[in-house]
């Protein structure tokens, strides 16, 4: 049976909020455990990388356009473009390529 959608939204918001304030709740002085710090350091990059590929290739009508957008976004981010420039360059790449594909 499907969970009530508003309960689901509440749980999602509350669980997210807990992550935001976790450090505020437990922190009195800096955490010293090196493995824990290192693990947390890698988590955001690994999670976002796993979520991005191959999903970006499956999100577009033509997989080729999605793959091109992936390369354009990586290149733009590599050469210092900001969050929203990169996002928009990805959109434009798909828009232009799907005119032909």
């Amino acid at each position: 049976m499907q969970i009530n959608v508003y309960l689901y939204i509440f749980v999602m918001a509350f669980a997210t909020w807990l992550m935001r304030v976790a450090a505020s709740l437990i922190m009195k002085k800096p955490i010293q455990n090196r493995f824990f710090q290192s693990f947390l350091y890698y988590v955001p990059y690994v999670t976002l990388a796993v979520m991005t590929f191959p999903a970006i290739v499956e999100a577009t009508q033509s997989p080729l356009a999605g793959a091109a957008a992936l390369i354009v976004c990586i290149a733009a981010a590599w050469f210092g473009q900001g969050l929203f420039t990169v996002a928009i360059l990805g959109c434009v790449t798909v828009l232009v390529l799907e005119l032909f594909l």
């Binding site: 992550m19 505020s24 009195k28 800096p30 890698y42 796993v50 990169v86 928009i88 799907e98």
Partner: protein
């Protein structure tokens, strides 16, 4: 003149360009949310109270797969674990004896971008600043989500296809600059791409739900890299600052 009020206004001003960017990205989140069965009102409410791009995207996707609340909570914890690190970075900057209330208020405002401008601002993080930015940016995030859900289906398929890439573009923009600076992060990103692709194809792992695959890969790859390439304390903090 109330000083807190000035700082609040400064935060609000800095939050406006962030909010405009949020609107565009939230539109693509809304398109995804519509596919997963969410109404515009439901999308608006969840964005207003959750304001987390990757976490919400995953939350919406999981809902469509008839997930359990336990799985949702576990996944939300894992996927938003970077907020813990950001919380630590902000709390490190607050002097001993800072009231819990102040720490909680600052922590509650964490998003990738608001964290970025808050940590870049000289001095001790203050809730006046973070709430100013939050109040400017998050309503636009919620509005963008609702617009994506309600108008995604009147847009031509080609436009929807293009917009659906925006969210991934934002993810890429978060992971690539630190990967350029740090070979270990670059390695982690490339291994993650490869494992994620393999996990979709491999016999046993591909039977797991998308959410479980993400949890499994994140925990295993991050733990392996933490063991092989542990951070120095200062580097771990520096990494958090780069994550904006």
């Amino acid at each position: 003149m109330e000083k807190g009020r000035d700082i609040f206004i400064q935060g609000y001003r800095h939050g406006i360009p962030i909010g405009l960017g949020y609107f565009a990205v939230a539109f693509s989140l809304g398109i995804a949310a519509r596919d997963y069965g969410f109404s515009a009102a439901q999308g608006f409410i969840s964005s207003l109270f959750t304001y987390a791009s990757a976490g919400q995207y995953m939350g919406f996707a999981l809902y469509a797969t008839n997930t359990t609340l336990a799985e949702l909570i576990l996944l939300t914890f894992i996927i938003n674990a970077r907020y813990i690190l950001m919380g630590f970075a902000l709390n490190q900057r607050m002097p001993e004896g800072t009231p819990l209330r102040t720490r909680l208020l600052v922590g509650s405002c964490i998003t990738d971008e608001i964290f970025g401008i808050t940590i870049a601002r000289p001095g001790v993080p203050t809730p006046y600043y973070t709430f100013g930015a939050l109040i400017a940016a998050v309503p636009l995030w919620a509005l963008g989500t609702a617009c994506g859900i309600s108008m995604g289906n009147i847009l031509p398929a080609r436009i929807v296809s293009a917009l659906s890439v925006a969210l991934f573009g934002m993810f890429i923009a978060v992971i690539i600059p630190p990967a350029r600076k740090d070979k270990a992060v670059l390695g982690a990103v490339m291994i993650s791409f490869a494992c994620s692709y393999a996990a979709v194809k491999l016999p046993v792992v591909s039977n797991l739900s998308q959410g479980n695959r993400t949890i499994l890969l994140t925990v295993v790859i991050s733990a392996v890299f933490a063991m092989l390439f542990p951070r120095k304390t200062e580097e771990a903090e520096g990494g958090a600052v780069d994550a904006d």
